[in-house]
């Protein structure tokens, strides 16, 4: 039988299948952070279990760290305690940690690829739903709960049933001003937040192939927003060029052997999926969300739907009420108070370059607070080396230090109640960016233009 990319990797990681349909599934890489790991370490301790193999785990502090003055002790006592706990657990169990102040520290899904830890054909897990990001390299990568974090720590394995497979093909060329973020927001708007529940998605087609690795990561990152377990893209020259020479990537002869294996990782012609969807790149416009789940997205110059199925009406109106919007309304001209450029969806160097290029020589609107939080120390350093920090500062943007920041508002970076924030992150849930905050998800380009104009505009008019 013809095999899909997903099946090839899945099959290579089945330790054994147990009657009833579950597989003992082997995990190559385990990424951990301060928020979802402490209870897992406690569980090992309580059960008196050793850590199976510390060399397969990498840790970073990202979710709950300040984005200013990272060289100083963390002010918030609970946050400091949580980060210290990660440090002491890593020391105790011999786990490599990129903690605050380390030159490799950053958002877990940004540093994995950046350091070459993420590689094609791997199975990768992390106690964070956006682990799907790593699928951009042709890996099976997905988020897990803390009980599963403990399982992987103890055995390097999970007990899983094989998900169903979906292929999403996007053909053609993206229009000017349309980015990977718009592509995925468009797909999510078409499928809805539960549209891919139970599936693992492979993205294919010429529009996907022509994306940079950064763009592919943005797409795979948001797979979870339509309910998918994960998303993946077959590795190709782009992937190899990105990886070669990175600190954790194989070197020399190992690199050649790796390449030979990685070149076998693709979906064979005629392999079957449980669901197939096709989209045309030319149909995709710059997107923005208007509601409180990522499926509530429209083209930026479109209007909020005037009617929805009766069964969804109550939830839909509750959402619009929270956002302060009405059915059938256009978002154009709506004033925005905050612009947040960051998160594992869009905080890589390519994103910062795009923002800097647009705002160069311009100035943000007076009433807008514009915050840029780079995905990692490496991204921050590169931005400074390229002089992007100056361009951004001149335009009134504040470049912070790396972390999850206002993506989930666990630290002090919160959007105040009632305020509107155009955000390059991945979730617009009620209160996600702080109690009462109102989030509009968009691409870094839309975010940059919004910051300058101070309101939602038809960005196609602003591109020359």
């Amino acid at each position: 039988m013809k095999k899909t990319l997903f099946d090839k990797i899945w099959d290579a990681h089945v330790v054994r299948s147990i009657p009833g349909g579950l597989d003992v599934f082997y995990i190559d890489r385990h990424l951990i952070h301060e928020v979802t790991s402490p209870q897992a370490f406690d569980e090992l301790e309580a059960r008196n279990l050793p850590l199976y193999n510390p060399a397969q785990i990498v840790a970073t502090a990202d979710h709950n760290v300040p984005t200013r003055n990272q060289h100083l002790p963390i002010q918030d006592q609970l946050s400091r305690f949580q980060v210290d706990k990660l440090t002491s657990n890593c020391e105790k169990y011999g786990v490599e940690l990129f903690g605050l102040g380390h030159p490799n520290q950053g958002i877990v899904h940004v540093i994995g690829p950046e350091l070459g830890i993420t590689q094609p054909g791997m199975t990768i897990v992390c106690g964070d739903s956006h682990t799907s990001t790593h699928g951009a390299f042709g890996a099976i990568a997905f988020g897990i709960g803390t009980s599963q974090v403990a399982q992987v720590m103890a055995t390097q394995c999970l007990l899983l049933s094989r998900p169903r497979k979906m292929r999403i093909t996007v053909e053609g060329e993206l229009r000017k001003g349309v980015t990977a973020k718009d592509l995925i927001l468009y797909v999510i708007a078409k499928l809805g937040t539960g549209g891919a529940t139970g599936y693992f998605v492979e993205y294919a087609g010429s529009a996907i192939r022509s994306l940079s690795m950064e763009g592919r990561m943005t797409v795979c990152n948001m797979s979870i927003e339509m309910g998918a377990r994960g998303g993946m893209i077959a590795p190709d020259e782009n992937t190899y060029t990105y990886l070669e020479g990175r600190p954790h990537a194989p070197q020399g002869e190992r690199w050649e052997q790796a390449l030979a294996y990685w070149n076998t990782l693709y979906t064979e012609e005629g392999a079957e999926f449980d669901a197939e969807l096709h989209f045309e790149a030319a149909d995709i416009a710059p997107m923005i969300t208007y509601g409180t789940n990522p499926g509530m997205g429209i083209a930026i110059n479109d209007t909020i739907p005037a009617s929805v199925p009766a069964s969804e009406a109550a939830s839909f109106d509750k959402s619009l009420q929270y956002m302060g919007f009405a059915r059938g309304e256009s978002l154009l001209g709506k004033e925005v108070n905050y612009v947040f450029i960051g998160s594992c969806t869009n905080s890589r160097i390519e994103d910062l370059r795009q923002v800097a290029e647009y705002v160069k020589g311009k100035r943000k609107a007076g009433h807008v607070e514009a915050i840029i939080v780079p995905g990692s120390k490496q991204v921050e350093l590169q931005a400074r080396e390229e002089g992007l920090d100056k361009l951004l500062a001149d335009a009134g943007f504040e470049l912070r230090e790396p972390g999850c920041s206002a993506c989930l508002a666990m630290n002090e970076d919160k959007i105040p109640a009632g305020a509107y924030c155009v955000s390059t992150s991945n979730r617009n849930f009620e209160g996600r960016q702080g109690p009462g905050s109102r989030t509009l998800l968009a691409s870094p380009l839309v975010a940059a233009i919004t910051a300058v104009e101070g309101k939602i505009v038809d960005i196609t008019q602003y591109l020359n």
Partner: protein
């Protein structure tokens, strides 16, 4: 993990779709490093206003509905993988969540913590909401060994699916880690036969 067999109890209805784990337990309450105490902040921002006063119109603050079943709209538990969501629901006294659809990670997290995600059809779910709305005292009997949701008032029996292995784990109070640790030999054997290793 606590054992789960048969529960007879009332239900608390929340007819909202796509309830995400950020609503169940907002991120700012994830700073604790133990598993306890999250129930206090379950649905925090729906339950309390910005001054910390209970919102009287929220169902958890109403004395009308009581019970160990949370009845919720479609696509329950979407969003963040935080297991704290399952801990919070359990900690607040619930043992079952009934919905017509569960997000994958939430379903797994619930099962790993002795909380039963019970999936019914959209049509049944709407009927359950109507029943509870009409009579808040409506009793639900959740019978896991029989895989049956029984409504004593009408005598109706609704069967539900659950993975046989997971069912046994719930009934016996086991979790996956016990099983995986017992597979040690198979795991090391697998490692030694891999064609390509990272």
């Amino acid at each position: 993990m606590e054992k789960f067999e048969i529960i007879r109890t009332g239900a608390v209805p929340m007819p909202i779709e796509n309830i995400d784990t950020d609503q169940i337990i907002p991120a700012r309450f994830l700073k604790a490093t133990s598993r306890e105490g999250f129930g206090e902040n379950l649905f925090r921002d729906w339950r309390y206003d910005s001054d910390g006063e209970p919102k009287t119109d929220f169902v958890l603050n109403s004395s009308r509905y009581k019970g160990q079943v949370l009845l919720a709209g479609k696509n329950f538990g979407c969003g963040s993988s935080r297991e704290h969501a399952a801990w919070a629901i359990y900690d607040a006294g619930f043992r079952v969540v009934i919905s017509s659809y569960f997000a994958d990670i939430f379903r797994g997290n619930a099962l790993n913590n002795g909380l039963l995600p019970l999936q019914v059809t959209d049509e049944v779910l709407q009927r359950l909401f109507a029943l509870v709305e009409a009579d808040p005292q409506t009793e639900f009997e959740v019978n896991l060994p029989e895989q049956e949701l029984y409504l004593p008032a009408s005598g109706e029996r609704i069967s539900f699916e659950i993975d046989p292995y997971k069912k046994e784990c719930l009934i016996k109070g086991y979790d996956d880690i016990d099983f995986l640790v017992s597979q040690k030999e198979a795991i090391t054997a697998y490692e030694s036969t891999r064609a390509w290793t990272y």
